[in-house]
C-alpha cells in the first residue's frame, strides 16, 4: 500500500461480523508491517469501537426495519494506520463517556464496574483516539508505524 490509500468495509451493525472486521484488520496491518503485538492491540481497540456501533447506534430498532449499517475504513498515511468506524445511528454522548473512561486500579470490588472500560482500552491501546458525534458517531483510531521497522 502506498500513502493515503483507503480500504472500506460496509456491513450490517451486527455482532456476527466482528470477527470479519478483525480478520480484515489483521490482513491489512500485517501487509503494512505492524508487529504481532501492535495488531493485537488494534484488534481490541477496533472491536471496542464496533461494539459501540452494534450495541448503541441502532438500539430501539424494530425487527421489521432494515438493519443499520456500520462502515469500517482503513486509511494508510505515510507513517500510520487510521481505522475509522462510522455509524449513522443515535450518537452516544462522547464527552460524558470519556469522563467515565477509567481503569479499576485502586477501587474496591463494590465500586468496580465495566462501563467505560471500552473507551479506556481504545485510548490505552492506540496512539490517538478521536470521537466525533454529528450524524451518527465516528471513531478514528490511529496507530503509528514504529520507525524501527523501516528499511534503511
Amino acid at each position: 500500500m502506498t500513502a493515503d490509500e483507503k480500504i472500506t468495509l460496509k456491513l450490517p451493525a451486527k455482532s456476527d461480523y466482528l470477527d470479519l472486521i478483525r480478520l480484515t484488520l489483521y490482513g491489512i496491518a500485517t501487509k503494512i508491517g505492524f508487529t504481532y503485538e501492535e495488531i493485537e492491540d488494534m484488534k481490541v481497540a477496533v472491536s471496542e469501537a464496533c461494539n459501540n456501533a452494534v450495541l448503541y447506534a441502532y438500539a430501539g430498532r424494530l425487527d421489521t426495519e432494515p438493519h443499520g449499517e456500520m462502515e469500517v475504513s482503513f486509511v494508510r498515511t505515510v507513517d500510520s494506520l487510521s481505522i475509522v468506524v462510522k455509524d449513522e445511528g443515535h450518537s452516544f454522548d462522547a464527552a460524558s463517556v470519556a469522563q467515565k473512561a477509567e481503569p479499576l486500579h485502586g477501587k474496591s470490588i463494590q465500586d468496580i464496574q465495566a462501563g467505560g472500560l471500552g473507551l479506556y482500552l481504545m485510548q490505552a491501546l492506540m496512539d490517538e483516539v478521536e470521537v466525533r458525534s454529528e450524524k451518527g458517531t465516528e471513531v478514528v483510531l490511529t496507530k503509528r508505524l514504529e520507525k524501527s521497522g523501516e528499511m534503511a
Binding site: R22, Y26, S47, N51, L104, I109, A114, L117, L121, A124
Partner: protein, 106 residues
Amino acid sequence: MNQNEKFQLRTETQEGRCIVYLSGELDLDSASQLRAAMAPLMELTDRELILNLRDLKYIDSTGIGIFVSVLKARHAKNAPFEVEAIPPGIRKLFDMTGITTFLTKS
C-alpha cells in the same frame, strides 16, 4: 496463521471445584454464550468457581465486563471465584484495566 477461532467453553466439575475452560475468541458475539453458561454456576456457593483461560485467544471489554459481574456476584455471596492460566496478551489487558488484582489470588 492468525485465524479467528470460534469461542467454546467446557465445564468440568470436581469435588469442591467447578472449572470452566474458555477457548477461542470471546467477543460481543460470543458473550451471550458465556453469560448463559455462567448463570447457573454462579449460584453454586458450596464450591470454588474457576475460569481457565489457557486457550482463550481474544478478549475485550465485553468479556472483561462479564468477569467483573461474576466476580461481584460471587463476592456478594461470599463464594470463591478465580481466573487461572491467563495468557500474556490477555494478562496485558487485565493489567491495563486494573482487574488483575481482583481475579487472581497472588
